[in-house]
């Protein structure tokens, strides 16, 4: 008998005492919990996102679409970045003013060591969750492969507000495709492993900057 058959047979024997139950899953698990906590306008939801991102030590900036290239250039310069990773589908205008910084395209063949030599990375995101201060990346062309937002020490993430912002985790999941590799990010890398106290900055980017950009459609 294969271990697969063995385990499945053990499961069936173990459940011999339980009466048969063919209740459909939707009815077996009622979901009276909230789909969001509180009643907020779209604007207030964006404010909550900013507040919770900052609470977990992300640096939050706001600007309009027209100001975005200037804002990104300023953030990279302020960091002293010599090079910036550019996902294949990042809108060209975003980094148009960051001309003092070497633009490194995300090449499929680039090794982890090569990525380690790049200072910063700029991406978009798939969705942002206000209640938890979370941004979610799904590997779309404006975000690139998972590794490019992991190895560099400085990540700048652009969130189009209010359209990319949801209130809660239950509202975020239906917007995401589980077939894509997802990375949920809530603040910079951190640990609670020393005396159960939170310290920021371990293996992921130690600086996370989030730019909340409004009026995103005009700039496209």
């Amino acid at each position: 008998m294969s271990s697969r058959d063995l385990i499945l047979a053990r499961v069936r024997r173990a459940l011999a005492d339980v009466p048969a139950d063919d209740t459909p899953y939707e009815r077996a698990v009622p979901r009276p919990y909230a789909t969001e906590h509180g009643d907020r306008t779209a604007e207030q939801t964006v404010d909550l996102l900013a507040e919770n991102l900052a609470d977990y030590r992300a640096l939050v900036h706001r600007c309009t679409t027209g100001e975005l290239p200037g804002t990104l250039a300023r953030l990279l310069a302020g960091r002293g970045a010599g090079s910036v990773l550019v996902p294949p589908g990042l809108p060209g205008a975003w980094l148009a003013e960051a001309d003092g910084v070497e633009h490194v395209p995300d090449a499929a063949g680039s090794t982890a060591h090569e990525l380690d030599r790049v200072d910063s990375v700029v991406t978009g995101c798939a969705v942002a969750i206000a209640e938890t201060g979370t941004i979610v990346l799904d590997g779309s062309p404006d975000q690139g492969r998972r590794r490019i937002t992991l190895v560099p020490d400085h990540h700048v993430c652009v969130v189009r507000v209010p359209e990319q912002v949801v209130s809660s985790v239950p509202q975020a999941l239906p917007r995401l495709d589980p077939a894509r590799p997802l990375t949920w990010i809530s603040g910079p890398s951190a640990t609670s492993d020393i005396e159960l106290d939170r310290v920021e900055g371990v293996h992921g980017p130690r600086t996370l900057e989030v730019v909340l950009v409004s009026g995103a459609d005009e700039g496209k």
Binding site: L6, R10, V11, R145, T191, D193, E195, L196, G201
Partner: protein, 492 residues
């Protein structure tokens, strides 16, 4: 390399030594009290906590009820997404599967995401025997591995170490494993985290094989979920060419939507955060992004035996948040090592004796490692009634009975050391059922009370070692009642 739990003394003996260690008690008190208050605050932020907890319980119960169906569905989804599924009935088989998979890559080192399942099966030691170095990359696991120590907490395996001890371990051991600790390393947590970053980065960047567990597996989509803080998980899940995940069969949830419950309750219960810094989800393999080869090893290792126990099966709902450890008065004082298992604390006291059976001395003693205060049940995000299971397991230890082991029903004899207890209970049953004998016994006890010892002799000594014997009154209650008519007479 890390220490092993084989041959652990029973809980009372191990705990007896641990409570005398003032450094350990100080470290544990500080850490558990810090997290307790924070957790309460994080939970209070969510007005529908009770509903989320109930939904979590129901999702897990439903899944366990139909576990065979969901396992098959998961296998299909993972396979369709480009992964390969393996089934392991026990620890040895799981270790062999992983060792063979690593050998097939030609690599001699792997980087590991913190995983309870691989701790449980002793994967690192098994790989070591095959000439493969497994590097733990979670900060606390790294501290345990470098210190040749054992984990003492589910979430923070090095919770028994304070910052000064961690600095000393880093200074003396990092050089043996790779990049040494920076010169002049102090004990500030930020510097210690930086030292770990530098030490592990070279290992991440060259790693070809990653090994992980998973917090959840979604049957309908074949998606695995790893919840973490440091980014070491992301490194291990995305940089290597081959990813091997070893996951207990109870980690399944039926649908993608189910994550909306657990991604709200797990971080708040675990690190007391609204959300942990990083959550990674992946479904098989993705073109050009992450590992090209993905293996999932589904692990039984006592889980189906646990599932066969009508009372004890609720332990399989556990999502390994460790909230029950942090509130437990026994854990806070005895520490995690006394539990003799990778699963310490209240959940360990019901999980270890079920996964491993109650035959060993340590496993037979674990159901007693509790005051039954119920704080663990109150904080559990999937409502596991730990006190109920503890009492159930005590009954099994003291009286024996039918249990399932490796899929077969066997008759367990009562554990050793409970003979006196059973004799005392039999005597009590006879005395309480014989009014004449009871009255005579009580009178003798009252009249001889000046000669009563402060501790019991023989097999009762252990019981009275940590308890005061109740003083026997000068006159039995029944005699007093008869003499005074319930206090209304003249004799007071």
């Amino acid at each position: 390399m890390s220490g092993t739990f084989v041959g652990m003394p029973a809980f009372p003996k191990a705990a007896h030594e641990a409570v005398r260690d003032t450094t350990l008690r100080g470290n544990l008190r500080h850490a558990t009290h810090t997290i307790r208050a924070k957790r309460a605050k994080a939970v209070a932020e969510v007005s529908d906590w009770a509903e989320l907890r109930e939904a979590g319980r129901r999702i897990k119960d439903h899944t366990l009820r139909h576990l065979d169906r969901y396992l098959v569905q998961l296998e299909e989804s993972v396979t369709a997404a480009g992964g390969t599924v393996h089934w392991a009935a026990d620890a040895d088989e799981a270790n062999r599967i992983v060792a063979d998979l690593v050998r097939a890559t030609g690599e001699t080192e792997v980087v590991k995401v913190k995983s309870m399942a691989t701790q449980e099966i002793g994967l690192n030691e098994a790989l070591r025997a095959e000439g493969v170095h497994a590097y733990e990359t979670d900060l606390a696991e790294l501290i345990v591995q470098l210190g040749d120590d054992r984990p003492s907490h589910i979430l923070v395996p090095a919770i028994h170490r304070n910052r000064g001890e961690i600095r000393d371990i880093f200074r003396s051991e990092m050089g043996e494993w790779g990049r040494p600790a920076p010169e002049g390393l102090t004990d500030t947590p930020a510097e210690l985290a930086e030292a770990a970053r530098l030490h592990l980065r070279e290992k991440f960047l060259r790693a070809k094989v990653g090994v992980s567990g998973a917090n959840f597996m979604v049957a309908e989509t074949g998606t695995l979920v790893v919840v973490e803080s440091e980014g070491n998980g992301r490194m291990c899940l995305t940089l290597p060419e081959t990813l091997i995940s070893v996951v207990g069969i109870e980690k399944i949830v039926p649908t993608w939507r189910d994550l909306e419950v657990f991604l709200q309750t797990l971080p708040r219960s675990s690190t007391a955060e609204r959300m942990n810094p990083y959550t990674s989800t992946w479904t098989g393999t993705a073109d050009g992004d992450g590992p090209r080869t993905f293996h999932l090893v589904l692990l039984d290792n006592g889980r189906t035996d646990t599932l066969a126990d009508e009372v004890g099966r609720q332990a399989l709902r556990c999502i390994r948040c460790s909230a029950c450890l942090n509130v437990c008065p026994v854990y806070e004082r005895a520490g995690g090592h006394a539990y003799g298992s990778v699963y310490p604390g209240p959940i360990g006291a019901i999980l270890s004796p079920q996964l491993r059976g109650t035959q060993s001395e340590i496993d037979a003693s674990l159901p007693y490692a509790s005051s039954l205060c119920g704080a663990c049940y109150e904080v559990c995000p999937v409502a596991i009634d730990i006190p109920e299971v503890l009492v159930h397991l005590r009954e099994r230890v003291a009286q024996g009975g039918v249990v399932t082991q490796r899929g077969a029903k066997v008759m367990l004899k009562p554990a050793k050391g409970h003979t006196a207890e059973r004799a005392a209970m039999r005597a009590a049953r006879w005395a309480l059922g014989s009014p004449g004998a009871l009255r005579a016994g009580q009178r003798i006890a009252s009249r001889s009370r000046r000669f009563h010892p402060r501790t019991l002799p023989g097999p009762g000594r252990a019981w009275s070692a940590s308890r005061d014997l109740p003083p026997v009154p000068a006159e039995p209650f029944r005699d007093w009642w008869q003499r005074t008519h319930g206090g209304q007479g003249t004799g007071k």
